[in-house]
Symmetry: C2
Subunit: 298 residues, 2 copies
């Protein structure tokens, strides 16, 4: 397997420096009241940045426009960050700890948290459609389309609605998979496809990367469910055991721990197989990211 020879840490570090710098420059500090501060608090200095890395890895694999990819990487992270801010609010999960810090509504109040989440979503689309920086209109429009569909009712928000309705109920494996395909899978897959949209990939490469993104998205959630029961809060940087406490259906509650682990490995294999079908010369970063997702401990 090639992945062992690929320096994922070095590759990621260099790219994350660019992402952090871009996020810091694009999220305003000087907005009215504490809105900008709350937006920055919600996004900066935290998170694994998996989605930005998927965007950049996919864009590099297809020789994409680097400026467009950096914007797409930041945009998808803003959507992810806003969803966490809203998800943590008292009327949703009512969580007080995130990435090892008090959640945004604890730090800035509920009203500001609500507005900061809303403004982060708008900023994501603003980043994707800049004027006069040379990103082709076609790329801008495609990126907006992919992100909007992944974030909305047929994607992340739809998945959260299923999640909300499922508390205390039992779901079948197929219902659980559908929930996760929307709730976390859609944005993870969109990260890959937004990277692809920064270049000019052929149909075969696109289809392979779409399959990679789909398997990766599901694998991420299965591992999340496993970590919720096997890791402690300090390692996770968020409240562990939350799903069980809230009687939320998870892959672990449905399959048991050993079968959930086996399923994660099976999804990793699917993701790697999909990469092999792309015919692209260098997909090592995407391969290493998939392995990292399945073997991570937080």
């Amino acid at each position: 397997m090639l992945a062992v020879t690929f320096d994922l840490k070095g590759w990621s570090t260099e790219r994350l420096e660019r992402v952090e710098e871009a996020l810091s420059s694009w999220i305003p500090a000087d907005t009215p009241a504490s809105l900008g501060l709350a937006m920055r608090y919600a996004v900066l200095d935290g998170g694994k940045r998996l989605r930005p890395l998927l965007v950049l890895g996919a864009s590099e694999a297809v020789g994409g426009n680097a400026d467009a990819a950096l914007r797409a990487a930041c945009a998808v992270e803003l959507i992810h960050a806003y969803s966490l801010v809203h998800d943590d609010m008292p009327c949703m999960d009512n969580d007080v700890l995130r990435r090892g810090k008090p959640t945004v509504h604890v730090a800035y109040g509920e009203a500001t948290a609500l507005l900061a989440g809303d403004a982060l979503q708008a900023l994501a689309f603003e980043l994707l459609a800049p004027e006069g920086v040379g990103i082709p209109d076609r790329t801008q429009a495609t990126l907006c389309r992919l992100l909007a569909m992944a974030a909305g009712h047929a994607g992340m928000a739809g998945g959260q609605a299923i999640d909300l309705a499922a508390v205390g109920k039992s779901l079948t494996e197929s219902e659980l998979r559908q929930m996760h395909r929307l709730k976390t899978g859609a944005l993870l897959q969109a990260s890959v496809m937004m990277g692809v949209a920064c270049g000019e990939a052929g149909a075969q490469a696109s289809a392979g990367l779409a399959n990679y993104g789909r398997a990766m998205g599901l694998a991420f959630q299965v591992v999340d469910d496993i970590l919720d029961v096997t890791a402690d809060s300090a390692t996770l940087g968020k409240t562990a055991g939350k799903d069980a406490a809230q009687e939320k259906p998870t892959y672990v509650s449905l399959l048991g721990l050993p079968r959930a682990r086996a399923y994660a490995v099976e999804l990793l294999e699917q993701a790697l197989d999909a990469l092999a079908t792309t015919g692209l010369p260098d997909t090592r970063a995407l391969l290493a990211l998939a392995e990292m997702v399945v073997h991570r401990d937080n």
Copy 2:
């Protein structure tokens, strides 16, 4: 004045039928849980639809692409509707009546209201960037840019943050104007400019319509402040006297009622003057809309 010969009611009715039909077809009913129902409840069968009419009026004035304009009209209304859903929530204005109906969080619960607002914002951008319906990429990208900037931290969300921080404080007229330029003005002006972006207006027409939009946006808010103290809840379809009860600064609290009324009329004149500078052959609908905004009673 030409406006008296223009049939605004007939013009609006025909366009609003198209907008209502489009909104109804584009906001899904069959999303997970009650998300789609809450989205539809928040948007359909209510509201003056001023923003869609501004988009369509501006697009027609510049000979814009009708399909693009219909999408832009619906998108801007979705942003407006989501902002009302979130604004009404207990952690913000805690309002129970909107457009004569219980607010979304009263009808569907807070968590679903939060998600429905989020999904409506995403849907707005989804409508602006459709695949394969023949709207030029350049138009799509421009529409996304204008809407994102008007909705975000430097627009509507920023204005709401100032509003939030201003409760119980006294603002100068210049601070109050800045708050409203962002909170309601940005989206109203963007409605006009999104209509312009559906066509190919010259610099003179664009500048004139931008000035029209700016004056209109401010006039709208001044009149809103006047109606908050002069109209009753039944006429308004929302809770009257709310601003005074919450000690929010308004044009009425700052200027007094007679001067606020005079200011609204002055802004109307500015809007009409700006239209006259565009050099466009037919701006009657925009002219009539400006008069309607200032002379409305709800």
